[in-house]
Amino acid sequence: MIRTLSWLAVLGACVGTVRLDAQALTQDHSYTRADVEAGQRLYGPQCQVCHGATGDGVPGIDLRLGRFRRSSSDDDLARIITSGIAGAGMPGFKLQPAELTGIIAFIRAGFDAASASVRLGNAERGKALFEGKAVCAQCHRVKGQGPRVAPDLSEIGAIRTLASLQRTLLNPTESLLPINRPVRIVTKDGRTIRGRRLNEDTYTVQLIDSQERLHSLVKADLKEFVVETTATMPSYQGRLTADELADVIAYLTTLKGL
């Protein structure tokens, strides 16, 4: 029976302080890592054409984050995968029971079979490090506290995998999402604005600057618009011990939004 313990439950036990979220409430079956990996192999040929590699290819649905239009329980998911949704473009799939289990496990695991190797420490100690030695809170905001210069981390535990969190802490520049790259802008009237993009299109860019002001700028009005590729966040490789790193990651996994 030990072999069939839920992989997520194992993680939960490690984190210690993980609270029940919507996903946990609706996930009514247990899955093994083998299930998740089996689902990962099947997702590419069967689901990716429409749902995309990151699970958010269909508007209103984010499989990786557990956001669905119609289903909430695992049984709902199983029914929709096997029966489809007439008129919505979702066909029914003929899958073996183990394959169906695998797909649902992969979805419930946030598309993340690699994270099992990420070590989780103590979330309480991680919180203390976040606010203290690691100085994360000097730039990042959590649950209404802290500056807005860097991305708000209140739901980072829900939207990033463990592997991604660890990668970002160790090598922020190589993990920096393009939208979060620092920008430096000089307007035609000579103002310099430094900040982080929130959105961009062909003609305009929306950003938050280092004084937490929101700007929506017309590109034709700019003299310079430079997107840096180096993260302002430092690497924690060597700044934190392996145990401390595991503690910070454990804390981040508890941040699941409201």
Binding site: Q48, G52, G57, I179, E200
Partner: protein, 559 residues
Amino acid sequence: MSCSTLRFSRVLQLVAALLLGASIAPRLAAQVTPDRLLRAAQEPQNWLTYSGGYASQRYTTLQQVTPLNVRDLEQKWVLQGQVLGAWQSTPLVVDGIMYVTQRPNDVLALDAKTGRVFWQYRYANSPDQRVCCGANNRGVAIHGETLFMGTLDAHLVAIDAKNGQPIWNIAVADSKLAYSVTLSPLVIKDKVVVGVGGAEYGIRGFVAAFDVKTGKEAWRFETIPRPGQKGSDTWAGNAWEHGGGSIWVTGSYDPDLNLTYWGVGNPGPDWNPDQRPGDNLYTDSVVALDADTGALKWHFQFTPNDAYDYDAVQVAVLADLAINGAPAKVMLWANRNGFFYVLDRATGKFLRGNPFVKVNWASGLDPNGRPIQTPQPPGSATWPGNQGGTNWYSPSFSPRTGLFYVSAWEGYASYYRREHQEFELGRNFAGGGHRVVTPVPDAPAVGIGRRSPINNWTDAVGHGAVIALDPRTGQQKWKFDQFDVTDSGILTTATDLLFTGGREGHFHALDARTGALLWKASLGGQIVNAPISYQVDGQQYIATIAGNSLVSFALRAPR
């Protein structure tokens, strides 16, 4: 209502119209005869076929809107669609009445001047329907007073253009086997021609023609030859049985040659060529068919033994040009595989081919237009990525500028993975997968359709562009970059304007000669159809669809 009452009321209507002036005249739609379809260019007030005419140039000779006054375009009306999801339909306009489809298989008839709806037809698809890439429909065709629509469950329905009532309804193929019809049919003479989708689920595709009056099948061309048929030697073993070859977009027609041209989609399984050795005809090809019999006159294959899903899911654009000083009947084709081709449309002979985006799956084309394939090592990036250098988005050709215009994806690549997969009914038949190349792991990437008003994937994973190509040289004349990728088709005008959109919801008017931006409107939702132009009561309209809204623009009245 008796006949005599009907006649009397018609007379009253006409008298009233004469007395009150043309502005409230009833729309007197005449029969759309095959002759009118042949001469569609002579009635630019109408948009009679999916691509605006048999040559599929999406070029209007209306001249009211010009580079000088395009800034005076204003929104005249909006029709709010009633369903969510990509709205890919191209409307038809016939004598002041617009016909447009919306997901999954509704048809609406509306006043093209006001956007007010006359009637709505709703088709109930079978729950068995199984369609790739969204519950899309790209429009209707018209013959006489009858509209034709293909359905997700692979039926073809004839509908009364006056009242929206179905006239006949036939099964084109079995939807339980994952056949579907998403394209706008093409009427040629007394036949209505459609093709089927479903290669992602292991179908064998075909183009088929049906009698416009009865729906009786007149001919069928199978895109995957059976053993013994010409081309079957390009398949090994029984791979042909689920060889794919979808038809996703409407064909073109040359009445002088009596040939109809259709682009054929990818082979099945999509990404594993190892289990289907051979060229896999007629996948990723254009086929030229006799319009009366469906007999294959010639074919040209763009991507033999495809490993990248580079289907020829493009509209064949027909143009008459001077090539090397001699007049030539050509076909212009910017393919998903990243090459722009010029073919002789009488013979299928390859005349020219040049990459229009970065390409590394092939080092070039040989003198016959066959790609010199250079597969990248596993784990290495392949350009263009899975959605291609372009895709199903309608291009345009302007006889005035002599340029071909296409919506392209640049800076976009994929990692491909091959995997052996046996066909099994009811499952995708993909044979592996692909992943978009992103600057960092787990970064958001582009795929099918816009998912959010916030672009957090950025141009780091690819961006869109309108590229103007000169068919005489194969070279790019100009380029208009967009930050997000684009699925919008293109319209050009006799006043050298180019209209197009994109996923950002901007609707742009460019100078077709230079690519300079002349006007834009922010419509808020992704534009994934192609703009059209038409005229009612002396006013030229430009219409497009953004998000859930069909919007029609015209010049504001002089003050």
